[in-house]
Amino acid sequence: MNLVTVSGPPSSGKTAVILKTIDALKKQNLKIGVVKFDCLYTDDDELYKKAGIKVKKGLSGALCPDHYFVSNIEEVTQWGLDEGFDILISESAGLCNRCSPYIKDIKAICVIDNLSGINTPKKIGPMLKSADIVIITKGDIVSQAEREVFAARVNMVNPAAIIMHINGLTGQGSFELSTLLYDETVQTNSLKGMKLRFPMPAALCSYCLGETRIGESYQMGNVRKMDFEEK
């Protein structure tokens, strides 16, 4: 089985891109499953079901979504193997712009959209910088100039990535992406012992443990203060 991790900011078009790409993959007679990670709520699993795709969803609730992802991805992989998928796609939102669920030697795709503004590539950390493929969406509603500037900025923070434009509504570009996803020589049977490409943001403080009161005397653990002296 091939595992592919897809992530990107909320509403960037991840689900639309994956759905359209699966349409193209199905024509190659590949069996595909999806696992959708989110925080509080998602009904994207319904969209996948409607398209006839086997899907599992995981809601992290009060936990950090990416920590939740990495704690579950091995079990998800085993589920995918049991189901006999050729490709298992994991979809997760990068909510803090710093995290990145990518795993070394597992194909990593980042989805971002043209509307997010040209400084966004600079703001997104490892999720964008360490992806193998960057998909830029919503190109149909911005000017050619903005698309070119945006793609140039993405290229600057991740020069090694393949950058592709996909229209999530019409699916233009998704066939092309589908040709890059499946590699029959790759067989992922377990992720045990594999490593994340980048450490996730750390936090272990009183607020992680349920503290709600504000004020220094309630803050314990890994706490950092803003610097107001800095010029």
Binding site: I141, Q144, E148, N155, P159, A202
Partner: protein, 333 residues
Amino acid sequence: MENIHSFKIKELLNKYPFLDSFFKNNTLKISGKEHLTLRQVFAEFDEDTLEDMGVEPQLFIQQITEFITQMNTFLGKDENKVKSVTILPGNDKSGNIEGFDKLVIKQGEIISIVGPTGSGKSRLLADIEWVAQEDTPTKRKILINNDIPDKKWRFSSSDKLVAQLSQNMNFVMDLTVYEFVELHAESRLVENKDNVIKRIIEKANDLAGESFEPDTPITSLSGGQSRALMIADTAILSKSPIILIDEIENAGIDRKRALSLLLSEDKVVLMATHDPILALMGDRRIVIKNGGIHKVIETTDQEREILSTLEEMDRTILAYRTKLRSGEIITKI
């Protein structure tokens, strides 16, 4: 290049001025550290700080090396002259072979694409953009300069084969016209930037009915002005040799001049349209049906005459539009 981390920042910037924006976009602060090597810069941070910044030295070195290679090819290469695009037939949705033998589109030519919505125009445009090699659902094959194209057209972000202009495009940035074009020019590493920007704004004003200033915010341009600026900017600044146009609305812009501006910049123009005037402005038109090219029709002399009549009618309608807008009462046709 192999020992990029042992060069001083100062030396790197001297040798590769474009790295300045690379450092900025990767949020690595280098001011005051120009005398250090990259290795020394990284050594100044402890692991936690690097993690905070989201920087991983090994990955960073890989990426800066890749970026320098890309930029050097980009700056050093000859103009990517695309003199012709050839489409070899595939099949439609039902598997029937398409209704043409070989379609060669030359630089400076306009081809219109007509057919009902959903008939397969997007797929044709996508086939060209992806330089299909019988490996897309239509099984079409695309040749560039009558030759099997370089794979770089598929994946390079600075060397896209196709630029697109479509009806529902907007400017979303909060910039003035000048700043906007400047940003685009900078991303293209254009020399004598100021002249190019001036020329684009002039041309755009030429195409637009109502003129605008360099310091007008792009978001407050009218529909016609926006389209004019997009077309002038794409014609002059976009490196892509092929322009795909999805309709040009008939308001606030001189469409004929817009097309001739694109052609004067040596572009190949493909234009999907439902508008009879635009369709007939093409040298040829592709008729799409059921996902495939049904026919390729050469515009006849008779059609060209009819086009003049249609244009006359178009002008008449526009004249009434102007009259109504200025508050006149219409008394006769």
